[in-house]
């Protein structure tokens, strides 16, 4: 950024002096009290797309266009201590001491972004033009018709041309000429954007659209767009269901192992998630302090750390408390509940009672538009991928390693496994550590979408148990299907009835299923199961 300003300073200054300055009256009008005045000034300034106008409007959009008394200026230079008059580009002497930035409200900002985008339509770089044309897809007003027409005439790239045609059509919807409106509706009918539907809907009312032909065309266009949108909507719901399911799975997978092997109802499981999330926070802080250049990649480092820390905490709990209570489910339930309180309080004392901020790395922010009206947020896509990774890891560990074999043996028949020489006590500790470590990984994922605070785990413990109970004990497949099923069902119910009712209905469904199948959906079959 600094370099950019420096460059502007080096090249911009002489250029400004050589070129014609902006109309000072218009520039002053940018600081007017009324939004209407500001908007008309922006529109007039942007009409000729001069580089000076771009610079001033850009500064205004970034809250960097400042005003003191009658002077409108921009701060530049290495330390931002050079005040340049916005209209003339000359140095303001003496530099103003007190100033305010020009207030930009949503209405002005929308005009401003459109004006800036429109001016960038003439940029020689294709990528810049593409972004600009994309930005103009919503709320292009009638006043933009001339500049869009000019850009259309010049544009050669097919993709940008399509976007421009849509923006042009959109702006033309307010054209007093009925023929122009009809043409605009025809163009919009072909568009895939949900915004087009919103633009066309008002045209159905005779009060807004006097021309019958345009009304009919709009009606047909809306039908065409709607049929395309339905698919996107359903896919969107399935995606959010999968996303919720993947989070439930990450939260419940560790619990499934612990409960499956040892029959321990681990009420402190949510707190192991919390440990993982705080480990992520800790790594983030560490990266910010020591490796600020690589801060976007802290998450990768957090994964093994969170696993190890949570696993160690888990093994410690098992060694010190839980192992003494095997075979006494009620006591373990109470003891682990107590442990959860201790862990919550410990986190509160170490990190404070308030939530801590774990930022999404840049590559996990924002979303990708898969199809019209369907934006998938990156952080959720990454978490689904991460869940798959953890699942594979656990599967390999359980099916292909000696430890996995032992764990499965102990799950199926503890006494028999002990008889043939499986060190059941050590397997217990390791399995507990493994379950806790997976919970730690879940914590890493949660830190990216939910709040990280001392009692964050409490919100997931019930859901995790739902998954384990519904899926049945001792099988990974059970947990997977139960988590994804619960996720998708919850999301469809939420869409239909709201979040509060959805939660209740899901609980009722689970109760009904458990009544029919007390062993869960996917129980181990055969005589090998204890009890």
């Amino acid at each position: 950024m600094k370099l950019f300003f420096l460059a502007l300073l080096l090249f911009g200054l002489p250029a400004t002096n050589a070129l014609a300055a902006l109309d000072p009256a218009l520039v002053k009008q940018l600081a007017a009290e009324e939004s209407d005045d500001k908007i008309s000034a922006i529109q007039q300034l942007s009409a000729d797309a001069s580089p000076e106008a771009v610079k001033v409007l850009k500064a205004m959009a970034e809250d960097a266009l400042l005003v003191t008394g009658e002077t409108v200026f921009i701060l530049e230079g290495e330390d931002g201590n050079l005040a340049l008059d916005a209209a003339t580009g000359k140095l303001v002497v003496p530099a103003p001491k007190t100033y305010e930035s020009i207030t930009v409200n949503n209405r002005v900002r929308s005009t401003l972004t459109n004006a800036l985008a429109a001016m960038r339509l003439f940029d020689p770089d294709r990528a810049v033009r593409l972004v600009a044309a994309t930005e103009l897809q919503s709320n292009a007003g009638i006043e933009m018709v001339p500049i869009l027409a000019r850009a259309l005439a010049k544009e050669a790239d097919a993709e940008i041309l399509t976007l421009l045609k849509q923006a042009h059509a959109q702006a033309n919807l307010a054209n007093p000429d009925a023929a122009a409106r009809l043409a605009a509706v025809d163009v919009l009918a072909k568009s895939t954007s949900p915004a087009s539907r919103g633009l066309l809907l008002p045209l159905l009312e005779p009060a807004n659209e006097p021309d019958v032909k345009v009304r009919e065309a709009a009606g047909q266009a809306i039908k065409a767009i709607e049929s395309r949108l339905v698919l996107g909507e359903i896919l969107g719901q399935i995606f959010s269901g999968l996303s919720l399911g993947s989070i439930l799975l990450l939260a419940a997978l560790g619990l499934a192992i612990i409960y499956g092997v040892m029959g321990v109802i681990n009420m402190a499981h949510g707190e192991l998630l919390m440990v993982g999330a705080y480990a992520t926070y800790f790594i983030q802080t560490l990266f910010r302090a020591t490796l600020p250049d690589y801060v976007d990649w802290y998450l990768l480092a957090a994964i093994p750390v969170a696993f190890l820390v949570a696993a160690l905490v888990g093994m410690l709990l098992e060694r010190t408390v839980i192992r003494h209570l095997y075979g006494r489910p009620l006591e373990t339930l109470l003891a682990t509940w107590g442990l959860s309180l201790i862990l919550i309080q410990a986190a509160r004392m170490l990190f404070g009672a308030q939530n801590v901020a774990v930022a999404n790395p840049v590559w996990m922010s924002g979303g990708v538009e898969i199809m019209a009206g369907l934006v998938l947020p990156w952080n959720r896509i990454v978490i689904i991928g991460f869940t798959l990774f953890v699942l594979t890891l656990v599967w390999v560990l359980m099916q292909k390693t000696r430890l996995g074999l032992f764990v499965r043996a102990v799950t199926q028949n503890r006494a028999m496994a002990g008889c043939v020489g499986v060190p059941t006590a050590r397997v217990d500790t390791l399995a507990f550590g493994l379950g806790a470590g997976i919970a730690g990984l879940g914590g890493v994922a949660l830190s990216q979408i939910a709040n990280v605070g001392p009692d964050m785990g409490q919100g997931y413990i019930v859901d995790s148990f739902l998954v384990v109970v519904l899926g049945g004990v001792g099988q990974l497949a059970g947990a997977v299907w139960a988590a994804l099923g619960l996720g998708v069902v919850t999301k469809f119910l939420e869409g239909w009835s709201g979040a509060v009712i959805a939660k209740i209905v899901v609980l009722v469904i689970v109760i009904l299923v458990i009544q029919k199948r007390p062993q869960g959906l996917f129980a181990l079959k055969g005589r090998s199961v204890d009890n």
């Binding site: 949503n106 209405r107 008002p202 308030q354 999404n360």
Partner: protein
Amino acid sequence: MQTRRNFLKMTVLSSLMTLSGLASFSVLAADTIKVGILHSLSGTMAISETALKETALMTIDQINKAGGVMGKQLVPVVVDPASNWPLFAEKARQLLAQDKVDVVFGNWTSVSRKSVLPVFKELNGLLFYPVQYEGEELEKNVFYTGAAPNQQAIPAVEYLMSKDGGSAKRWVLLGTDYVYPRTTNKILRAFLKSKGVADADIMEEYTPFGHSDYQTIIAKIKKFAGEGKKTAVVSTINGDSNVPFYKELGNAGLKATDVPVVAFSVGEEELRGVDTKPLVGHLAAWNYFQSIKNPENTKFIKMYRDWAKKQKLPNADTVVTNDPMEATYVGIHMWKQAVEKAKSTDVDKVIAAMAGQTFKAPSGFVLTMDEKNHHLHKPVFIGEVKGDGQFNVVWKTKGPVRAQPWSPYIVGNDKKKDVPDSK
């Protein structure tokens, strides 16, 4: 035998402790005044309420350094009701009956206030409530230093209906599922109807406390907004759910220029945990913003920053001030003035002395406690989120507005009295 002896020991010990405690208390009582602070320091509301506890402690410290109240030092008694509504009532009882505090500053959510009300009425305590709320309440034992609906919600909606606010025609009323959002939305629905908005153009949606998955709701809002009329969202989401809500909003690419979201429970403090760049332009309505420029506010901000550094609060270098903090600050000062006027901390005398108290607040206005209805006259500001997490004031009232705790948009309220029933 062993246990019996232990039991005896314990009894003697504890009675000794009680005695010594009582003794020290009677010595202290002569030259100090006890002040209760009842804010959640853990749980879902800690994100908002912790700062209020700090503000209260800071203000008490400031008053003590200036000589206290009537020459007596204030002693704060801090309890943590942990975002647990029944626990609020228990802690309130503890403060009033056991610690014998003369006044309590506390609560954020309306459900917690409703939970402590019977206790304050029964024990004739005094509560200062610093947060905007839904109205529909007027209690002799409570002073409301936050906004009533006509001092926050209604002006915000009117702004969004105006040309500058984007002339919104369709409305999403989104909130956490409890008494404040439900009542506020009831008032807003009636208000919108009176402005000619059809029921089909209003969508009401609620989530549980601590909800963290806003995908479906954002998708619903997008769909609802795509019906051809300008749509605005009125958010009464409370507590830390706001962080995932705004994160999801940013990720889904719902921009303020398309669908503005105006929030009544989100201020500078709640936005500290969020990357605000994608949120630029979303709005909040309050009676104070940190970005307001005046000498009172500069002093207030500096005082809080210094306090945060001195107390080594987490992230002390980035602390912010917000509306309920200002209301807490104003409330404590007004209570001090009332005590000095009444020359007593007796609850009934202080209540009488509160009427008509004035205080020059950091919002830049002289705020007046209404003669009758226990609410402050407050100015209203509407701010847009900036990239740095602060707010840009885009609209404000000319002066303080008198509170209407009984909203005229709820049927039957015209018959209610504007003064609390005395006992």
